[in-house]
């Protein structure tokens, strides 16, 4: 089976969907210009050679404009894959996403569909406060949007293909340190996970999470289990923490929700019912964050299974710092996850 980076898997997903359905097109900034990178992180590299500039559509630097075009095209029957170079710029397109895309189906009584895909890279990568934020929580809060966050190459391809085929607007958050972008777009400190990606057709359903690492039965019976929920980069931090914890006899069950809206909450609740402890790791800052939502769900629906307080490991409530040393402190590390887990025992 072919091994791919996430950037390659996304590219293959786009290629397959564009071949399958001529209504599918890409729109973004510098995604197809000759000699360009193929978008900010090489995902669309080379696609204009096959599909031409009418379907790999470059726009001026105006996120509001390109998003408005994409929403309009979606309403009119096309299936756009729009992207912004950095998720931070979604704020510029907020009116189109929050007021138009998310609400049109509801406001029209279901007669208007908005099959829009909006791709957005998140994560702090030494680019400063305006090119580093993790905005998932903002969009999880807007009813009418679906939100996915693939952390592996397999999921990246399968979820993007599902997003293209979904009749609702879907925001796809991708992490800069996970793309595996090559050449001049290689990110410092990137994890660049490479994984098996089948060449044949497959979809990863929106709304289904996955257990990345299971807590063995005997550990949970001995009260040595913990559930750690992480997405994108923090899922890998959770996995690293789990390996460190295992040396101390604590077995972590690591859950990757993959889709944030609609959330596969039963997967999380089921795990917490088994382990009795929950730590949520996210790169966004703490207050009003996604981790708080997960904590609230578990407190409401699995309170009597908890053996310890729920713990959130997040970035502090400050903008992402530019200085690399401070950024390292800012983004939750595996060590911080380990410390949070140990405080529960």
């Amino acid at each position: 089976m072919p091994q791919m980076t996430i950037a390659e898997a996304l590219r293959q997903a786009i290629r397959e969907e564009m071949r399958r359905d001529e209504r599918v097109f890409c729109i973004g900034e510098d995604i197809g210009i000759p000699g360009g990178f193929g978008g900010a992180f090489t995902v669309t590299l080379g696609l204009s050679d096959e599909f031409g500039h009418e379907r790999i559509l470059d726009t001026p630097i105006s996120e509001l404009g390109l998003t408005g075009i994409a929403v309009g095209a979606a309403v009119a029957g096309l299936r756009p894959i729009a992207d912004v170079q950095y998720a931070d710029f979604l704020f510029l397109a907020m009116d189109q996403l929050a007021n138009e895309a998310a609400k049109m189906t509801y406001m029209s009584g279901g007669t208007v569909k908005v099959p829009l895909v909006m791709r957005a890279p998140v994560g702090a990568t030494a680019r400063g406060a305006q090119h580093a934020q993790s905005l998932e929580a903002f969009f999880c809060h807007i009813p009418g949007l679906k939100v996915v966050a693939p952390a592996t190459a397999y999921d990246a391809k399968g979820l993007l293909k599902s997003a293209v085929r979904d009749d609702n607007p879907v925001i796809v958050f991708e992490h800069k340190l996970l793309y595996g972008s090559k050449g001049p777009r290689t990110e410092k400190g990137a994890l660049s996970p490479v994984g098996d990606v089948p060449d044949e057709e497959y979809l990863v359903p929106i709304g289904k999470g996955i257990v990345r690492r299971a807590c063995p039965e005997h550990s949970r019976r001995e009260g040595k289990g913990v559930t750690i929920v992480g997405k994108l980069l923090t899922m890998y931090r959770a996995l690293a923490a789990a390996e460190m914890l295992a040396k101390d006899g604590i077995e972590a069950e690591v859950i990757d929700p993959r889709t944030l809206v609609p959330l596969d909450k039963e997967l999380i609740l089921e795990s917490v019912r088994k382990t009795g402890r929950l730590v949520i790791v996210e790169e966004d800052n703490l207050t009003g964050g996604w981790a708080g939502e997960i904590a609230a769900i578990v407190a409401e629906e699995a309170f009597f299974w908890l053996d310890a307080p729920i713990k959130r490991v997040s970035a502090p409530d400050v903008p992402p710092p530019f200085a690399p040393v401070m950024e390292q402190f800012y983004v939750p590390s595996a060590e911080r996850v380990v410390a949070a887990v140990k405080a529960l025992f």
Binding site: G223, G276, F304, D307, A308, L344
Partner: protein
Amino acid sequence: MATEVLVPPLGQTVDTLTLVSWYKREGDAVTQGEPLFAVETDKATLDVEAPASGILAGLTANPGDEVKVLSAIAFIDAPSDVPGTLRSAWHVSQRIFVSPRARRLAEAERIPLEAIQPTGPEGAIIERDVRAYLQEAGGRESGVRSQESEVGGAAPRGTGGITPVARRMAEEAGLDLGSLVGTGPRGQIVREDVERAIAESRRAPTLPLPSSPIPSVSEPAEVIPFTGIRALIAGRMAASHSQTAPVTLTAEADATALVELRRQLAADGVAVSYNDLLLYVLAKALREHPRLNTSLDGETIRVWRRIDIGLAVDTERGLLVPVVRDVASKGLAQLAAETQALIQRAQAGRCTPDELTGGTFTLTNLGMFGIDAFTPLINLPETAILGVGRIKARPTVIGDQIVARQTAWLSLTFDHRLVDGGPAARFLQRVVQLAEKPHLLMA
């Protein structure tokens, strides 16, 4: 070290009690063994002694509250603990902190929390501590079993409840929350359930709404909670009224000889009440008519060999029915001594639950209030109850003469489902005969 003050288990069927009063206030010094608080079951009031000496702290229940058996309602801090306590915030309040998961397990295994050694973060009891206790107590297997049942089991208790809007609507409509059936998520009572209950209560023509739908202008003089003994009596009476097929037979008994017998007994130093004499009469009559000494248990009618007669006693707290055991085996003097003690305990609210259950027949006497005859309600699950009216000189025809005789009306209510009119009438006839001719009691 703090000792938990636990609500004692009283009898096997008692799950909750009503806290009547605290004899000490928060911060008072208490001595082990002295009365600390009083609780009331549906049948009795009991003092509970302090489990340790020290300072009373952390009261979590107020008089009038329903408290669960074996729950902690306060703590007694050992004297050495009190000054200068400077531990983690969790300890300052002197409460035992326990994770929800550990509490579930401890409750399922019926382990008192204070018996568990906490090792969790900040001194809390967590699941492993409960399991360690179970293992030490030799309960390892049951611990493993409950773990398995937990994981695959149904949603935990305590997640039902009632939504705020449903609670408000129910309160405004004067509905008893306990009577509502929840159909919401996990059995939660939701608005629709209250609406349905309101609609049903309006449909039922014979039942007036518990509270007037028109707001009354004047305030009630008193608002009495329809809980505790009152609610229990209400439930039993309504059940008796609706579930039995009651028929009341009445007969006048010439009690002149009985009055004379009582006078003679008193003259010879044996003071007995009419109730005692009637118990004695009933014992003989019931022995001869065992179909009246029965109770209904689901699909079967149990005919009791022993005759245990409940005596209806009017108390400040409401109607209580303490039971005189094995009446047929006892002489009049013994019956008199026992009933007097029972009645005193009932009036002081100090009957134990066991003294208030298990009767096979009931005697109720309203003669002292000048009542002539009435239709008593059967004390479920018994089959019959005898109501006694006042003994009074009444004009009676004997031969051709009208003479004054001491007579009393006896009212027998029986459950026609369990016994027919003929046998019941024969029983009452025999009771009348024995009351009129008490010398037959020796025959």
